[in-house]
Symmetry: C2
């Protein structure tokens, strides 16, 4: 395809998405309609693209994932295919993209040492910022899969209870629209192949189960979360919305980005020790209303995605196709590397109505280029009126 070489979406990337009526794959400034193209050429993989969803491809498993990628790569690089495929190429920027797969369970981790440290300092000043467990296991929790939405979905500012104090300084709740609405810039990993109950996924079996990654914005209402979260963790402060990029980047596109995660230098329980490192040198970029606020370095994430999955399943919890687990906020140690406004502004400033947040990710590509791993955008809508409490 003209212009793909040297672009941010070369043959090495080949991310998948879902438009209104087809599965598509991106190449340069175009995308190929896989639903139409695979049917037209009589590909054996056509059934995987027969519905406008990645669900079938996800469940097909590693050998099929590799075979599909090889076939598409052949189509796009061998000129003899050009005439047959050209009718199925579309301009990339014209696509309206949907949630690419059915989200089964959604888990969110807390795998950045800088982020956990920054939040510990802000929320528990005077105490050690990291909990005693933090360096021994990836801390995580379940989120709400039913409110995972695709990039471009507007995000309504939520209402909820937050802590106030009465005249005696005793805590009491007040009900209001959140005024500490924040982002969390993350990378999410998409499970294709499930497991049986009781089965564990070893760090080495990561690529048999995980298809690829998406960019995530885990919207967070810090005031709601701070009041509700003791002792069982985040709930309504997170559950109103989580946005993901429409493009799912296959693991095979990330070969150049692989490196050891920082936890490789620590003494870990054996189930968390990687032989083949799956730390990833990705760079995120956070923009609010077009201005770059930070460039969080995924390479500093303490736990790799293979370690996260090994931990998620070490108790025998089964996986299903479409399970999504996110890294937790990606933050580096510098102010221009943090993945949340809470860290950047130390709790002094949050999102305003109308703010448009865009988080993108990239990785090293061939010959000093960058691979565009996609982006997730959303605009904050004002809280629904009545701004006061709903009738009891």
């Amino acid at each position: 395809v003209d212009g793909a070489d040297g672009s941010e979406r070369p043959l090495e990337l080949l991310p998948y998405a879902v438009s209104d009526d087809a599965v598509v794959v991106a190449i340069g400034e175009h995308c190929l309609d896989l639903t139409a193209a695979s049917a037209a050429v009589g590909s054996a993989h056509a059934p995987l693209f027969a519905t406008a969803s990645l669900d079938r491809l996800l469940a097909a498993g590693r050998p099929a994932w590799d075979a599909v990628r090889a076939e598409i790569s052949d189509w796009l690089s061998d000129p003899s295919w050009q005439a047959r495929l050209e009718p199925h190429l579309r301009p990339l920027h014209r696509q309206r993209l949907r949630l690419p797969f059915t989200v089964a369970d959604y888990v969110d981790f807390y795998a950045s040492e800088a982020h956990a440290t920054n939040l510990g300092r802000l929320l528990r000043p005077g105490s050690p910022p990291l909990m005693p467990n933090w360096r021994h296991l990836p801390v995580g929790y379940h989120g709400r899969s039913g409110t995972v939405v695709v990039s471009g979905t507007d995000i309504r500012r939520p209402f909820g209870q937050r802590r106030a104090t009465d005249a005696d300084d005793a805590p009491r709740p007040e009900f209001a629209a959140s005024d500490r609405l924040d982002i969390e810039a993350e990378i999410g990993f998409v499970v294709g192949v499930g497991t049986q109950p009781g089965e564990r996924v070893s760090v080495d079996a990561f690529t048999e189960h995980v298809f690829g990654l998406v960019v995530v914005n885990d919207w967070s209402a810090r005031d709601i979360q701070a009041w509700e979260a003791a002792p069982l963790g985040p709930f309504l402060g997170k559950s109103f919305a989580t946005s993901i990029s429409p493009w799912v980047v296959p693991l095979a596109a990330l070969a150049r980005a692989r490196q050891a995660a920082p936890s490789a230098a620590a003494a870990l329980l054996p189930y968390l020790v990687e032989q083949e490192p799956w730390g990833l040198d990705l760079t995120l970029e956070v923009r609010v209303n077009g201005a770059v606020l930070s460039r969080p370095p995924f390479a500093q994430m303490y736990w790799s995605p293979a370690q996260l999955l090994a931990h998620l399943t070490v108790n025998g919890a089964r996986l299903r196709p479409g399970d999504l687990y996110a890294s937790g906020t990606v933050s580096g140690w510098r102010d221009d590397e943090v993945g949340s406004l809470f860290e950047l502004y130390r709790g002094q400033r949050f999102l305003a109505d109308g703010d448009c947040v865009e988080i993108s990710a990239s990785a090293a590509g061939p010959a000093a280029t960058r691979l565009d791993l996609g982006s997730v955008a959303g605009t904050v809508l004002p809280a629904l009126s009545p701004a006061a409490e709903p009738p009891g």
Copy 2:
């Protein structure tokens, strides 16, 4: 149906379940195959039962739920239907029942004051047992919907990290099979009708969205949970399995059980104030290997299921058909009323391999009878070998 009057499953109850090939409804010691019967008599509701799942019925909504119940009630009480329905009656005890619906999101609350107080005393001795938020909002968190299983499913003892201490008394993890495996006796509420993003469900709209209830055992590995849960709450200590009863009891069967929940006496934010009380006077019974350990009183739950749902959605998080939210452990103040072994034995005794746990629930029925609301059973399987750590 002979014997239904005066039984634990009279015409007033009519709970639904799913066998290998049909939706069924229980009456006395029998069940009626609704898939076959509704097709045979040409019922307008036959499409709701055309697949072996409650998913279609759940999504059909309150008017359909009421019409279906009225129709079944007519079939079972008017003798003119007897000859046509008799071929579709089966002995109740012979049914093999499956997970009755597709679980969308699973949320677990913490709505018993006695339970929260008991756990606070055990886990944070010397501190106030209830957190400052507890009387102001229903504390809850998301669980893993992919590991919700039907009664009768064996439960594999999970492995995981737990806290140990080294020679200097510093915390360190060890990896082992849980030896503090526990139960939590709960009631779960099944959402039928979903909402749009941003929509709140008021306490008064509870019956428009919730179809009915199931009995829940939220299996819990206390040692895994204690080490992992700071600061984001329960994760692997809960995610290996949650068991539910196969029978879903419609809200319409619970009219006699309704009463004000204890929170009705408190000053609450208006969105939590009930006009029509949905507290429920149900009695649970916990048996381990046949011996009754306790009879937890659901009437003492501080928050009603309508309040739980109003809170779950107050931030605009959308509901989907099949969402399941559970009450949290049902405990009363007496030892013979607690819903977990942790409370009963103060952390000194937990489940052994081979233990069979059965939790049942009942409510007042006509003329001093009790309605059988179903039960949830499971047997503990030993942890998978190797008992030691998996290879790293």
